[in-house]
Amino acid sequence: MIALDAVTYTYPATAQPALREVSLSIPDGQFCAVIGANGAGKSTLCYALSGFIPHFFRGELSGRIRIDDVDTQAVTLAELVQRVGLVFQNPFNQMSGAKFTVREEVAFGLENLGVARAEMQTRIARTLERVGIADLADRSPFALSGGQQQRVAIASMLAMDPRVLVLDEPTSQLDPIGTREVFETIRALIEERGTTVVLAEHKLEWIAAFADRLVVLAHGRIVMDSSPRQVLTAPELERYHIGVPRYVQAARAAREIGLWPADRDLPVTLDEATEGFSSSSSLSSTRLDLRNSRNSGN
């Protein structure tokens, strides 16, 4: 379980707090997505969940951050890294530079933890399989595509067996192929066992389908915290400068002219939208009207 209790944080030499009275409790195994305009505090939240705030960034912090029962302010950063993994936007900057092959790169964290060689080898092999990069094991980390590097970064964190994996806009700088590879990796991770996943993202289509929970940040505060469906179909979402998913927009507009059944929930995924429009009896009757009007020569 990972929790923030009334956390307010201001970066050094900054006037405004980046997080204001944020309280958030994420149970084990949950997949929690965090969305919000740029500057709303998504990255700050990710750093707070992984201990880099306050340890790396200093600044002023009030409130408590707990990872299981450990207060992150009471221990060193080094003690936290084993519990929480952090992956961020730039794939290249997460390649340590200390290692010449992907296998050794994934080993880097385990070496720092002092894991014995035999156990290291087992964990690395297992992690490479899990993330689907076993075929890249002998390649140089710097000879990979962005999507491949990002998966190596994820594997490097997972090898350390953290309870929580925090990802801060991991697909921002990737092309569609890389984006899909990373999302697939995250999905496999969620499906297989109980790692808690916190994902900050702008690409809502994928989150809508797979997240358990969606938290909206605005100006450093949590303004919405609910299921993806409830958040993405909420009328006030636009106020927070978050792009309402196009399926929702289309169904909402269609509902106003009777092309979407009034009693049906607004769709948040392609499948839901397809089903909804296909089954729409209003749609059938509209077709009927058009046909009739054509036949009568209008």
Binding site: G36, A37, N38, G39, Q89, S145, E169, S172, Q173, D175, P176, I177, H202, E205, H241, I242, G243, P245, R246, Y247, Q249, A250, A253, A254, I257, L259, L270, A273, T274, F277, S278, S279, L283, S284, T286, R287, L288, L290, R291
Partner: protein, 270 residues
């Protein structure tokens, strides 16, 4: 200003043939999106417009200029190129100075430079940040500074390389309206983008590239419906297009309004 590409071929010094005969015509006031997988030749193509690359065969004309006869600095007067990574450009102490750099290089007078800086800042919404150090801003704001630096050049052709990377909804919206404004001013706007929904909404014309060739070139509504061709270059149709296609439509709607039209006209009777 017209951009004319004729049978353009380009081979990198490493031997990789990045362009295999591309022919395109873009007229003043056109907004064109170029899509396709990494390695399809999109960036290689647009680098020819600013003269950073010289054709191995074929030619590129910007207005009446053959790019082979002009230097990059000369072409900068006609083609504004916004690079993908703003940090590759920013070096000034303030945002204002950064934006003034380009116009000064063009040899414009100080009052003209100041006017252009103010206008560019207004357009990108950073007027209140004029005296800040660019690196005090967020990366996505720095992208707007880089964009403003090129807008200040007031070139008849504007090239945008992945303009929406990392932007939130408000940022994408602002970039989209800048594209429309540039188009309304009669400029030729060319954008490379992986954000296919952005392309559909803001660009009436879409060029699909794959393996150094043009696979499709035409109205967004037609091109983005050709899912099988797009798949060859690892491009998925935009969200609304995918929905419309699944419902049996043949055109790709570019926005919600078109989607409703397409559904009423083309979705078969159920």
């Amino acid at each position: 200003m017209d951009v004319r590409v004729r049978d353009l071929g380009y081979v990198y010094p490493t031997g990789v043939e990045a362009l295999r005969g591309v022919t395109l015509d873009m007229a003043s006031g056109e907004a064109v999106a170029i899509v396709g997988q990494n390695g399809a030749g999109k960036t290689t193509l647009v680098k020819h417009f600013i003269g950073l690359l010289r054709p191995t065969r074929g030619d590129v004309r910007i207005g009446d200029w053959d790019t082979r006869t002009k230097s990059v600095a000369q072409l900068a007067a006609r083609v504004g190129y916004v690079f993908q990574n703003p940090d590759d450009q920013l070096f000034s102490r303030t945002v204002g100075q950064e934006i003034a750099f380009g116009p000064r290089n063009l040899g414009l007078g100080e009052s003209e430079v100041r006017a252009r800086v103010a206008a560019a800042l207004e357009t990108v919404g950073l007027a209140d940040q004029v005296d800040r150090h660019p690196y005090d801003l967020m990366q996505t704001q720095r992208k707007f500074v880089a964009l403003a630096s090129v807008l200040a050049l007031d070139t008849p052709v504007v090239v945008l390389d992945e303009p929406t990377t990392g932007q939130d909804a408000a940022g994408v919206e602002r970039i989209g309206s800048i594209v429309e404004r540039l188009q309304a001013q009669g400029k030729t706007v060319i954008a490379i983008s992986h954000d296919i929904d952005f392309c559909a909404e803001r660009f009436p014309r879409v060029v699909v590239m794959g393996q150094g060739r043009v696979l499709l070139d035409g109205a967004a509504g037609d091109v983005l419906a050709r899912a099988e061709v797009l798949a060859q270059t690892y491009v998925e149709p935009p969200q609304l297009a995918r929905l419309a296609l699944r419902l049996g439509a043949r055109r790709a709607p570019r926005n919600v309004v078109e989607f409703l039209q397409v559904v009423r006209e083309e979705v078969p009777f159920t």
